[in-house]
Amino acid sequence: MAEEFLVVKDLHKSFNEHKAVNGVSFAIEKGEIFGLLGPNGAGKTTTIRMLSTVLEPDSGEVVIGGHSIRQEPEAVRSIIGVCPQELALYEDLSALDNMVFFGRMAGLNGQEARAQAMQHLELMGLVERARGRVSRFSGGMKRRINLAIALMGTPRLLFLDEPTVGIDPQSRNNIYETIRGLRDRGMTILYTTHYMEEADRLCRRVAIMDAGQIITLDTPRQLKSQIGSPDQVTLEDVFLKLTGRSLRD
């Protein structure tokens, strides 16, 4: 049996009366790309915020790389990288400045941060634009920088929260290739999206979330086989069958 790198048990979070995450449990194996699917408002982002230690859960337990997020948040932070859904970067700075800054924040010294920044910019196909101001980049380029920043410090677990929202096919394919490359190098990835075909292409296993709960969890093929031939149905069909409404409501 493969080693479980992230274990989530009965996670709960409410905002006032609204239960954003309601008893979520799952585990991710080391080196796995795990998809968390669901429509907007399903609770995916709230789950990632709790797993990345920036939002305290109401209850439940999370262990990442053997460290509890409650007891050892510092240790957890040292092994994770987060790519938020928003473009969480400084548009008035250059791509290189952004990456060096976040690298320093992740504990790298100046030289290391610079070296890693150039390495990741090359990975993203943005070396020529390293010194360009981010505000002048296209949406796709900003998304790639957003992802590259998450790689600073060489995390062992990467949280990617809808990293391909609103970008061109070229940038999307670049991101897919990057993610597969990271997996091949042994990185564990939690990937949230509401694009079903994306999850189908990238993830070994997916959990479908709705209204703060995981309603099913399995490999894409197994999920599709629950309602028909895996070659003829899509994950969206699975979701519609399970929830009775469209993913893009």
Partner: protein, 417 residues
Amino acid sequence: MLQLTHIWLIAVKDLKIFVRDRAAVFFFIVFPFIFIIMFNFLLSGIGGEDERLELHLVTREPAGGLSHQIIGAMTKAEESQLAPGQPKMVRDKDYAEARRAVEAEEMPGFIAFPADFTEKLSTGSGTRLEVVANAGNTNYRAALSGVAGAIAAEVGADRVIVEASIALMVRGGVIPPDEASINQAVRSIMDRLMAGGAGGEESAFIDFATQKVGEVEAENPANFVIPGYLVMFVFFAAAVAAEAIVRERQNRTLERLLATSVRRESILGGVFTGTVIRGLVQIVIFWTLGILAFRVDLGLAPAAVFILSFLMVIMSAAFSVMLATLARTQRSAGSLAVITALVLAPLGGCWWPSFLYPQWLQDIAKITPHAWANDGFNKVMVFGADFSAAVPDMLALAVFAAIFGFIAVWRFRTSAV
């Protein structure tokens, strides 16, 4: 140590962003000097000269009358002989012409001696000086009334002297008790009382004593314009920085930092330090240009000026972070920043000196940190006070900074939800 490094890196990052924003650099560094040059010019008249008051005197008596002697004693040939602040007495020859000049508002007013002035005084029946002044010029009218009152009092006192002297002379047999002899003795005594006055020398009859408190020097308007605009723009820049903090919160940049090894306190410290450094850069530029280009005088206590500036920067940075914690959206932070900066600046005496305000407005202005800062600067740089005079203003700024800082630390959020 790591947390200090994080604070420093966040501060440096904020400075880089500020420097690369040319509009912000122009608005908070260059733009204030356009205001300073303009207001320096507009306010250059304040305290800049000794505007000597001219008081006009005219008599309707024929030549030889006592009023001619009084006017002669009061007027001086050379203005240069007058002490600072001493009014200049001007003799006007024609009553009708003087009256016409007042009605035409060519002259603010005058004091007129009646045609029977000497006769009435001699007979003891009393006389009346006439004060003719423009109705709208209350200050000038008050000055003329004061001088007229002084003349009346002095002449009254002299009359007592003359009467007592005549009585003694008659009783002692010095002069015979007939009218002609008494009148001649009266004239003789009056002449002696008035002696020396008509010659342009200091009169023994009416004397003005002016207490000289320092030299009358032209006040450099930069001494209150530059501190005023420094206070305004340091606060304004800091307040507007709150918008950037809210933007970082909304696009989850601050949260992203938390997901690394950065602590909430380091983010708060970094944001605060960045705002403080930017403010320090502003005050260094303000004072350097102020001293070199505008020749501002830091008074007897330059240290007080620098401490006040530093406290102003600290207070403004604390206000910035507080504003960012209270505002929910970027737009509300920006609006609150502009409103607070533009309301507090004139109220606190940044646009024009608050010591020109009525007392009640000065009292209200004390609710603003701007007023305390400007008050401290004015004390030291305009009124020549020493360090200790500015200490209450420093303490007030420190209290404002502590209050804003406490709210900022208590309420600081790194995420929008």
